[in-house]
Symmetry: C3
Amino acid sequence: MFKDILESVAAKTPLVHSITNYVTVNDCANILLACGAAPIMADDENEVEEITSLCNALVINIGTLNVRTIDSMIKAGKRAALLAHPVVLDPVGAGASKLRTDTAFRLLKEIKFSVIRGNISEIKTIAQGTGSTKGVEADVSDAITEGNLETALAFIKNLSARTGAIIAVTGAIDIVADSRKAYVIRNGHPLMSKITGSGCMLTEVVAAYCAADPDSLLEATAAAVCAMGLCGELAYGKLLEVGGGTSTYRTLLIDFMSKLNSEMLSEGMKIESR
Amino acid sequence: MFKDILESVAAKTPLVHSITNYVTVNDCANILLACGAAPIMADDENEVEEITSLCNALVINIGTLNVRTIDSMIKAGKRAALLAHPVVLDPVGAGASKLRTDTAFRLLKEIKFSVIRGNISEIKTIAQGTGSTKGVEADVSDAITEGNLETALAFIKNLSARTGAIIAVTGAIDIVADSRKAYVIRNGHPLMSKITGSGCMLTEVVAAYCAADPDSLLEATAAAVCAMGLCGELAYGKLLEVGGGTSTYRTLLIDFMSKLNSEMLSEGMKIESR
Amino acid sequence: MFKDILESVAAKTPLVHSITNYVTVNDCANILLACGAAPIMADDENEVEEITSLCNALVINIGTLNVRTIDSMIKAGKRAALLAHPVVLDPVGAGASKLRTDTAFRLLKEIKFSVIRGNISEIKTIAQGTGSTKGVEADVSDAITEGNLETALAFIKNLSARTGAIIAVTGAIDIVADSRKAYVIRNGHPLMSKITGSGCMLTEVVAAYCAADPDSLLEATAAAVCAMGLCGELAYGKLLEVGGGTSTYRTLLIDFMSKLNSEMLSEGMKIESR
């Protein structure tokens, strides 16, 4: 099943429209190409509906948010949802400022997201905007560990039920869940946090995989999380061999995404169903 | 002749002003430095005329177009043309949205471009804004092949005659033409399409070469197209040797531009006059 | 002393807020991570005060300046200064347009900067906005050389006295000075000028080091300048070994920042107190 998703991306070359931040946008475009998809970035209110209509998926990423593009996000999101395109939210920095938190809440209210991908802090902020009681999130600390995994799974499934979106929380342990089923993923490498854009790039790969297999969004999202984490592991192994620092690591990470095939993914994914 | 252009860039270090997209702008700045030129990016309406006056060439690239910078493009373009600087248009995504198509047409109407560089789809869109009959373009499919080369050459020469600009169409086969003369170029490698920015970077190199040799715009443009394609070939050869994926390929592509000299270009260029 | 600063960055992981240009922003984020700090980029007027309050230092960089973010710069700068965060100005292109020059002057008038880092041309422009007599700057040519070093030192100490900021002028010879004391630094490599972002990245490292050691801003700034220059030298040495061009050099430069430790810095820094 996971294997099919990778082959489906290669066969379909999904076109992904991204309204994203200017820090990691180049990496986002390159990781889309590396994973077999194709990028279009466009954020002007006057063209986003047309552009997203030409595409197969939409990413909305609120890093370097500015008020000029919020309406663009809303318009593109509504149009993409109407066309039944997968729409993926990356609520970068939600909780860090009122603007980002309010915008995340507004986006959630006005757009039907297919997937929301963030770190645990961002996802907890999202939860506060969807009417959840404080009690649930309070039990999930700032990192998902083996110790709080059960609580985290319950929280995330509950959030998925309330939002109708697949929730992907990434960190040392990753969780991808809908309201009924969850995948716990243990791929990845700590060095991924020493380059900018690991999270943003993953969000793009999620969109690409979902666009290639829109009938299995949960599995497509889980496969993307495994794929990115596995590339992080393979890149680290190669880095030990060739030497170098964090910039070489970034290059290797994207390199492995461009070389990843179904066999590599099947062998390397560390996933369990919960 | 082509050899002289490369040496002229090295001798003059032309300063290129770019109003461009935020996806590939870092690559654009680095390829300018790599080819012996120097970059300035500035897009605020309040400074573009001053900035472009300090420079030797201007690039206008409409990727990630936003309405805030359209007037900046017009002002900079008019000023640069007035100063007889080469002005190069990269109509990224023309045809993909009304905003981009209309903006491309407005730019063509208000600015005297020296060179227009795009893929065949963008160039066909440009042609529609210059009063051409539909019939001509209809005969040129979405790719230039050996089979439709003659038709394509006629179309491109005709477009050059109508716009007064050198037209550079890039793809598997590249054509660079003015109204009377065309060059057919067969440098390049398919992997160039698996990284973002190959086209944008080429447009910058075109501007640098034209700034270095403003009296031979057709040959300067053709030399830039050959140079970029040759770097793509050399990078591919090196990639086979060192291993790696698309991100390593991007690094190698810019590396070769920084190492390219007249001898390498003379030996590697695959160009014929038509 | 310089050794302690590096260890302090590693221990504290300072969070640096940057309002910067879209050309080199990705490099800026990656060099912060590489040197042991962490980046946040945010430029919307509605969130900059909140964001900078969460951080330990602020960078204001006027490359690709646009009028939309000038008020954001002012707001963030005032808030950061109020919180006694180090605030670092990179006056990119000051002198190249009225917008940039006027904005640099306005920033200097409204914000108490801890450090101003630029090339000699930008720093001379800054000096004109602070009431200095023309005579002083006229004696400092467009490059600091052994021949005009004494004059340059006097000019820079004087500028520091007038602005209350540490002044860091970088070029073939670097000077870091307050009103009483100066460091002359001879680290670095000419190839650093063949990639975009060397200066912008240095400014980020200055902010990171100052945030880690806010009681020794002069030494923290000097250490950052040495560190960046040393990485440029080490990267060049490695480039000779592995081959490659300017893009590989950029990768190696960031790589070395991620590998730099106190011993390497102590052994490699070429600094004298004046």
